[in-house]
């Protein structure tokens, strides 16, 4: 089976500023991968290139062997770091919206998760708290039966109970032909659910390894190594 994601000499600059420099990465199917790096290291830029929100300055990025476009958007489920739920819609409306545009969206699953997290489907998105907006977005994203999940800072603003629920959701949703990429700088919280980690520093890949490799070789957690590598 082909890699779900391949980046080859991928670069992206904004004006004179180089956000990503010659990134080459291969992400196989069936993995949960942590994209780790300090703020401003290029994590979000990388994810935006995968989604097609940005176009590479050089090099290429392939999702399931295709350039980002309509076909890849069908199989990529993306959670941006921003909340886009500022509209007049009710939770129910946004469920219908997802159902309309994504054939792989499972409405029943989404409704069950909404209930678990005590979200009322008649509430207007605009009126939700920031944490609840994040939860709704995560539910929308995880209720799709996608091949690649891109979660940009998924646990930033939610409380620890919700965080555990979210991590559980990611584990339960795990499928053999799907991969999950989680970008974060809060590593300790998610380390246990990761297969592999990619450290990004100043727009370049600083390290790729499996979590247990790091623990075996360095006798410390990924979080510990991260703090050492990126010490200020």
């Amino acid at each position: 089976m082909t890699n779900i994601l391949t980046a080859t000499d991928l670069s992206k600059s904004f004006g004179k500023k180089e956000a990503l420099k010659n990134i080459s990465l291969e992400i196989p199917r069936g993995k949960i991968i942590g994209l780790l790096g300090p703020n401003g290291s290029g994590k979000t830029t990388f994810i935006k290139l995968v989604t097609g929100l940005l176009v590479p300055s050089a090099g290429e990025i392939k999702v399931n062997d295709l350039d980002p476009g309509v076909e890849t958007k069908k199989i990529v489920s993306y959670l941006p770091e921003r909340t886009y739920l500022n509209s007049w819609m009710k939770i129910d409306d946004i469920l219908s919206f997802f159902e309309d545009f994504y054939p792989d969206f499972n409405r029943i699953k989404a409704q069950n998760m909404m209930q678990d997290l005590e979200l009322n489907s008649n509430d207007r998105l605009k009126t939700l708290s920031k944490g609840n907006k994040e939860k709704v977005q995560l539910i929308l994203v995880m209720s799709r039966d996608a091949d690649l999940y891109l979660l940009d800072e998924p646990i930033g603003g939610v409380d620890p109970a919700a965080r555990d629920y979210i991590l559980n959701t990611i584990i339960t949703n795990y499928q053999e032909n799907a991969s999950v990429i989680i970008s974060t700088h809060l590593i300790a919280d998610i380390e246990q659910v990761l297969d592999e980690v990619v450290f990004i520093s100043k727009g370049q890949v600083a390290l790729t390894a499996s979590v247990d490799e790091i623990r075996e070789e360095h006798h410390q957690s990924v979080d510990g190594l991260f703090r050492e590598v990126f010490k200020c």
Partner: protein, 274 residues
């Protein structure tokens, strides 16, 4: 997928327009009632209606005019806001990751904007008809039309149908071009990292000025190439009218194409979400 985009666009904008239409129609009916029951001779200088009723009518009429103005402004505001807010603010993260072609985003927004522009026009026309109901008969209308079409045919040697068709075509292309000009201005504005709305407004002004400039130059060039003689030599008013209408339509189409492809290029390659 275009169908689904249209559906959601219609829903999102309809909830703003429909209430305004409802208020406008209601106000029209109130006006008509006040006018025909309270002061049927309002527009007659010689008779005087009850002053209180005249007051009331003046107020409701003022309200009516205010709503008509508000509707016109809202139409423009919604066109701008739906395109800018839905695509280039945080909502863009949702819209641009849908499995939908960039083309369909622009077309869905454009078609719905056209729709509301037309519906707003029709609704205002209907309210005017309601207000003036009883002051004319259907006969008057058909007579006026046949008189006009006769004049058109004798003086311009043009069939009224063709004239209306060509004029409508010119107007529609004019509307499309002006909406697309708003779109490209917004698309250019979002290239900036700050003050994007001001930048979009600036882009709009710059495009307007540039177009003015080009047209002025073109006008200046007409005598240079003796084109004015060509025009005059046509002498036939039919051809002059035809030239004007179809020429404007052609220029509009050209602008439409330029604005559309410019917008699409920016959205595809230079998207710069906050």
């Amino acid at each position: 997928m275009l169908g689904k985009l249209l559906k959601h666009e219609l829903k999102a904008s309809g909830r703003i327009f429909l209430p305004i239409y409802a208020v406008l129609l209601l106000l029209t009916i109130v006006n008509k009632l006040v006018l025909s029951l309270g002061c049927p001779d309002f527009f007659n200088e010689e008779t005087v209606s009850h002053p209180v009723m005249e007051m009331i009518f003046a107020i409701t009429l003022l309200l009516y005019v205010a709503i008509v103005v508000a509707l016109s402004v809202m139409t423009l505001v919604v066109i701008v806001q739906r395109f800018y807010k839905n695509l280039f603010t945080d909502e863009g993260y949702l819209m641009f990751t849908l499995p939908v072609k960039t083309r369909d985003h622009i077309i869905s927004k454009l078609l719905i904007a056209m729709l509301w522009t037309c519906v707003s026009g029709v609704v205002i026309t209907i309210t005017i008809l309601i207000l003036s109901w009883g002051t004319f008969t259907w006969m008057d209308v058909t007579q006026a039309y046949s008189m006009l079409s006769q004049q058109v045919e004798t003086q311009l040697h043009l069939s009224m149908g063709l004239l209306i068709f060509e004029a409508a075509l010119m107007m529609i292309t004019e509307i499309v071009a002006s909406i697309l000009m708003i779109y490209i201005a917004i698309a250019l504005g979002q290239l900036f990292n700050q003050h994007r709305i001001i930048a979009a407004f600036g882009a709009y002004v710059v495009i307007s000025v540039a177009l003015q400039f080009i047209f002025s130059i073109a006008m200046l060039l007409i005598p240079v190439f003796n084109l004015d003689y060509t025009f005059l030599s046509l002498a036939d008013p039919t051809e002059v009218v035809q030239w004007f209408l179809n020429g404007t339509t052609a220029i509009n189409l050209l602008l439409c194409a330029a604005f559309y492809f410019g917008t699409q290029y920016i959205m595809k390659n230079k998207l710069n979400l906050e």
